[in-house]
Symmetry: C2
Subunit: 209 residues, 2 copies
Amino acid sequence: MTGVTDMTDVTRVIRVLLADDQHLVREALAALLGLEPDLEVVGQVSRGDEVAPAVTALRPDVVLLDIEMPGRDGLTVAGDLTGVRVIILTTFGRPGYLRRAMDAGVAGYVVKDARAGELADAVRRVHAGGRVFDRRLAAASVSTGANPLTGRERDVLRAATEGGTVADIARRLHLSDGTVRNYLSSAIGKLGARNRAEAARAAEAKGWL
Amino acid sequence: MTGVTDMTDVTRVIRVLLADDQHLVREALAALLGLEPDLEVVGQVSRGDEVAPAVTALRPDVVLLDIEMPGRDGLTVAGDLTGVRVIILTTFGRPGYLRRAMDAGVAGYVVKDARAGELADAVRRVHAGGRVFDRRLAAASVSTGANPLTGRERDVLRAATEGGTVADIARRLHLSDGTVRNYLSSAIGKLGARNRAEAARAAEAKGWL
DNA sequence: GGTGTGAGGTGACATTCGTCAGGGGACGGC
DNA sequence: GCCGTCCCCTGACGAATGTCACCTCACACC
């Protein structure tokens, strides 16, 4: 309304930083948030390792973080950010992701399947000091429970998804063949699967990978 | 070709229909396209099987179609649409998808990694009668070549990705165990893989699945 | 009519997998 | 100090997998 530059006005606006590897989606989200008068997208980055520098440079109030990004994983990035509120914004409604996000101290978790208004709302609530987590996902997280896999079991299972034989995995992880088979067998048992492929699918679906 | 009323240049505005299963992305894309004065998003659907009815009801000039949608596959939907220009808009830059899209007669293929201006441009060019295909993807498509898998090999490989043993797959497809093993072996050979998991990954990455 | 290709099948074989029963060592908690 | 857990390894065994040779049948194409 006032055409005059008013610096106090700036403090009213919530400064948002967007991190998503898909240009089009990022720009589109910026356009969407730009429709809200009290929100301002002050920056956009496409890689995980660009988030921290951008935060220092732009001093946003809230960061919207995708999980799957080149350079650095969104959940890892979130764990290291300080002095800014973080909302995870991702395609994947995997219970394990939510848990990891909460452990990383994020203030919100919104899936890309949410309705348009929810995102702006989440930004406002989080900026006001609240926490916003997808309800269905929170419920699923409780029923799913904690990740039953040990660190090594996860490593081996993750390596198994890349394909290759037991010998390949063993070489990649500097283990003996038998050890790899044991970890795989153990993981298969814990996940109620019938072979490594099924186990990998199950673990991935729950965000335990 | 319908010889009915040709609506000369009634509309200067290009009518766009959006089909994407993720609410937030869809709304965001609508906001982005809404910024262009010559484009108008006249409708949005979230499922593949809602596209055809929406086209009849809303008569858009251009349809933006995601590939992975519940209800019906975007590529399949594209093949059945008539009287409207189709642009595939998807996350996946898989050569095989591009090929299938071209076979389905679509007018454009844009990946979600594209820059914001490219989408609006693509809509305009396509509406004007042109064709717009992602350059890098087109190149990859040429080098990748055609899908070497036979129909049955694809079926078996697809079933294999769901997990389960050979016997399970055989039961699901009403085949004998030996036949399933033969198809898998053949597919593994053609794809240069070393087991079914590697083969499935390779096929999926190229969009041959 | 011959030829090629894809679908579907059988039987045999070597290899790989998944399982089980052990054997260590390191570390943290009560 | 003992117990539990995770790490790492070995060896053995049966079941599942991947490969190969070879078979019929249908269909399209020249």
